[in-house]
Amino acid sequence: MRFWMLALINLRRRPLRSILTILGVAVAVAGFVAMVGLSRGLEQAWLNSLNARGTDLLSVRKGVIDLLTASISADLGEEIAKIPGVAAVSGALGEVTTLEEDQTSLAEGWPTDSFLWQGMTLVRGRLPLPGEGSVVVLGEGAAAALRKDLGAHLAIEGRPFKIVGIFRMGGAMGNYSVVMPLQSMQSLIEKEGKVTGFHIRVDRPGEGGRIEAVQSALQKAFPALSFVQSGNMSESDKILKLFRAIAWSVSLIADVIALVVILNTLLMSVLERTREIGILSAVGWSSARVLVLFLAEGCALTLLGGGFGLLAGSLGLHALTSLPRMRGLIEGDIGPGLLMDAFLMAIVLGLAGSLYPAWRATKLDAVEALGYE
């Protein structure tokens, strides 16, 4: 019999209690994977979407909580373009909209001469022409989900738009989005002359400190706006920060509950096995060996729970991001880093939850323990 086998035998003696403990850990780990995976996925979707457009800096109204609710005069774009180091500026107006079949998508409006169009790969059709209204290009993900193709009409917020192109663009958010000329978008959401923000390309962005210098100059010239490097967008968006904080808070609460469950299970186990601990002492087991036995039992519980939790969390996140209302906005991001974090979390839970019961086991008086009924 190997040592780890002894730990498993001990866990099998109270199968229901062990299963419930494993379930508690699994829920905590699944919650962590799903919530943090969702939060990271949301951030990644933003970053992918911005990276695909070749944006170096993004400007939004200072202090705004939700980027998409911001509203800035589109005319400011010309002023921004005058700042030395700015290579190109494009206003963009975005809003989360409901398309047909309950599909939720990010709808954006861009000027027809914007550099932002260069970031998308046109799969079929063409881009909107200058002066053209009520036309859209549709991400290929959204096109497939809605079973729409070139020439078909798409209802956005109840208004029909003709699909003139199907495109592909970084990440789920891009591929499930719909883009139209800026004026059409302004008319659709009744924000004539307004944009949500400006995408800015910097001249010679590869030069060290160049982007930061232009950012600083812009910030000085336009104190009412906030200029953010696209790579830092997730740090600046208060909604993303809030979502991340909620994800970690919920995970932390689930972890604490799992910790209490493990603690309770192993303390009960120490109490029930008091006599056995006395026997182990009588046959010469060292305190360290008794300690390791209980730590091993705690870790075995959390590793099993962690395994189930990883699976459940991954499947749950996949199911969640496949919902029509979610798939255009969020993609789950369960990379090796997150899996490793979840695995480490399970180990830490196991060790933390079993340390005190294990210590209690080593402190039992052997003679009293042998007489324990």
Binding site: M1, R275, S281, V367
Partner: protein, 204 residues
């Protein structure tokens, strides 16, 4: 105070019985002899050396001392073989070695056929044989037996005592038996009587 002015030495291979009425302190003496209890005053030496810490006593119990209890003290969730193996953790490194030695010892006490049975499936006599096999796990210098036949009928008691005698004589292991049964006490080569925590008599 459970014991007072007790001074005794146990020679290698000796068969010693400690006798006395209930509450006389004989079990306490046994516990002190193996370091499960520590005396408030006085010293206990093993092989001329005084173990100074609980850790040193645990190491001694693992390698030099076998224990047989009246209540058997077997682990109910483990099989007979595993109950013997449990005493070898930290002494014999490889799992295969532990398993092989456990089977050999079960054979010595006549439990080969019961190796994969749990204690609940064994009779009282078989349980005590199993406890004896466990006490032999690490070839101890001394076996301490606390009322080893207290829970057994007379026929089974006799078989268990015979087994302990055979082991003592064949292995050269010292045997210290605590009992309040005169018949058992008289099987030993030396008898110490304890009364009210003091040695009343010590005769060979």
């Amino acid at each position: 105070m459970a014991l007072r002015d007790v001074s005794l030495a146990v020679a290698p291979g000796e068969h010693l019985a400690i006798m006395g009425p209930s509450g006389s302190g004989k079990s306490t003496l046994l516990h002190i002899l193996c370091g499960l209890d520590r005396p408030t005053t006085g010293r206990v030496k093993f092989g001329g050396v005084e173990p100074e810490s609980a850790r040193a006593w645990r190491a001694l119990r693992a390698r030099k001392i076998g224990f047989v209890f009246q209540a058997f003290n077997l682990i109910p969730t483990l099989t007979a073989r595993q109950n013997v193996e449990i005493a070898m953790f930290g002494v014999l490194g490889a799992a295969k070695e532990r398993a092989a030695k456990a089977l050999y010892l079960l054979g010595r006490v006549g439990l080969s056929e019961r190796a994969d049975h749990r204690p609940a499936e064994l009779s009282g006599g078989e349980k005590q044989r199993l406890a004896i096999a466990r006490s032999l796990a690490n070839s101890p210098a001394v076996i301490l037996a606390d009322e080893p036949t207290g829970n057994l009928d007379s026929k089974t008691s006799s078989q268990i005592l015979d087994l302990l005698d055979v082991i003592r004589s064949s292995e050269g292991t010292a045997l210290v038996v605590v009992t309040h049964d005169e018949a058992i006490a008289h099987r030993a080569s030396r008898l110490i009587c304890i009364r009210d925590g003091m040695v009343d008599s010590d005769r060979s």
